[in-house]
């Protein structure tokens, strides 16, 4: 059976690459610290020696729009182009091509259906920055095959926080049952408190630093009971209109299980708090 080598839950700040590769005199003051923290986080994946990645993200109206927006979708393609024109324009993120893994995609899709998650699927999926940002930060050589999973944290009405947790649990069971000797890592990206296009955007910190502190505490201690008791669509909206991306971090903890994280770090930046969390559900990485 496959081995779940690591589970990573990370924020995806689309300006990381631009901020840390600009000429030094143009860099924001936190750029060097940001790069150090990201490289330390990357090591938590590298030392788990993954061979295959399950990637969780959310399409930001790049391939999917309100004429046809899936609640949950799995990619089943042999490979995936990534980065749309308007992401290159705004964030300076380059184009990528990632290899897919059709066998695990198919196994995952059937396993999800069997567990009551009626996923949409795509055989021609172009990935956006919700998946490419964590590739840039945790696996910049972009050399491993991926199985992409998209969730709806973006176009209401949204699935509940509990549903994201349960989906994570289901993905975990399927990885555990996958007949392969591969080491699989699951990497998902989302947000802590975040405001976009509203009155609280682009401040010195994220819109709700208290929520951010609490959320990191919950994730790093595996405290799903506290999350489900406290986090609702309405509470997330009060913390910032785009805070619902937190549900993808809940999903990742669902893959790990209700266990303490092996690694937890954060960085307060303009506009948002960054969080970098890693679990080793089957014991410490070699």
């Amino acid at each position: 059976m496959a081995k779940l080598a690591a589970v990573l839950a990370t924020t995806h700040h689309p300006f990381y690459l631009k901020a840390t590769t600009a000429p030094v005199e143009q860099q924001i003051p936190q750029a060097a610290e940001w790069k150090r923290k990201v490289e330390a986080y990357r090591e938590t994946l590298t030392k788990a020696e993954p061979e295959l990645l399950v990637m969780v993200g959310a399409d930001h109206f790049h391939q999917f729009f309100l004429d046809n927006y899936p609640q949950f979708l799995i990619g089943k393609a042999p490979r995936y182009d990534a980065t749309f024109y308007n992401e290159e324009r705004e964030f300076g993120i380059p184009k990528y091509v990632l290899e897919g893994h059709e066998d695990l995609s198919n196994f995952m899709h059937k396993g999800l259906l069997a567990r009551g998650f009626d996923f949409a699927f795509s055989n021609e999926l172009k990935l956006d920055h919700s998946i490419i940002c964590p590739i840039i930060t945790t696996r910049p050589q972009a050399d491993l095959p991926v199985v992409p999973i998209y969730t709806n944290i973006f176009a209401p009405p949204l699935p509940s926080p509990k549903r994201f947790w349960e989906l994570g649990r289901a993905i975990r069971e399927i990885i555990d049952e996958y007949p392969s000797d591969k080491r699989i890592a699951a990497i998902g990206s989302g947000h802590l408190s975040l405001e976009l296009g509203g009155p609280r955007q682009f401040r010195e910190t994220g819109p709700d630093p208290e929520f951010d502190r609490q959320a990191i505490e919950w994730l790093s201690t595996g405290n799903i009971d506290a999350i489900l008791a406290n986090v609702t669509h309405e509470s997330m909206a009060r913390s910032g209109n785009a805070t619902h991306g937190f549900m993808d971090l809940i999903l990742m903890m669902g893959i790990a299980g209700p266990i303490p994280a092996a690694y937890s770090d954060s960085l307060s930046l303009f506009h948002t708090m960054e969080a970098y969390i890693t679990w080793y559900p089957e014991g410490a990485a070699q």
Partner: protein, 121 residues
Amino acid sequence: MSRYYVNKFLYTVDRDPELLRRYKEDPRNLVATWEQSIGPKLSDVETSTVHSLTDAEREALINHDIVALFEMGAHFFLSLTIFIAIYDDEWTAKYGPLSFQRDFAKRLAHWEGRDYPPVGE
């Protein structure tokens, strides 16, 4: 009102550099062109008869009216992205990094602490 159609406008224009350029330089003309030939498109062959812009929606798009779009429930991500594309470079050159984004927020200050207009549901 068609919040969907306002979002379709923002979505289709933001992802096309030529439409974006025209929306920046001559918004009235681009909105008119869009309503005639781009908005109704489902594919190269199929068109839809379902949606249209109200006068208020049309004016908000023509005027790059961030506040009106927010108040009619245009999706925050689409609105932020397209107006960054249109204004960020000029504002950064004149007033420094993130000045446009902070002014955008200031124009919506009267919404702080209130429930925002819904973008769905």
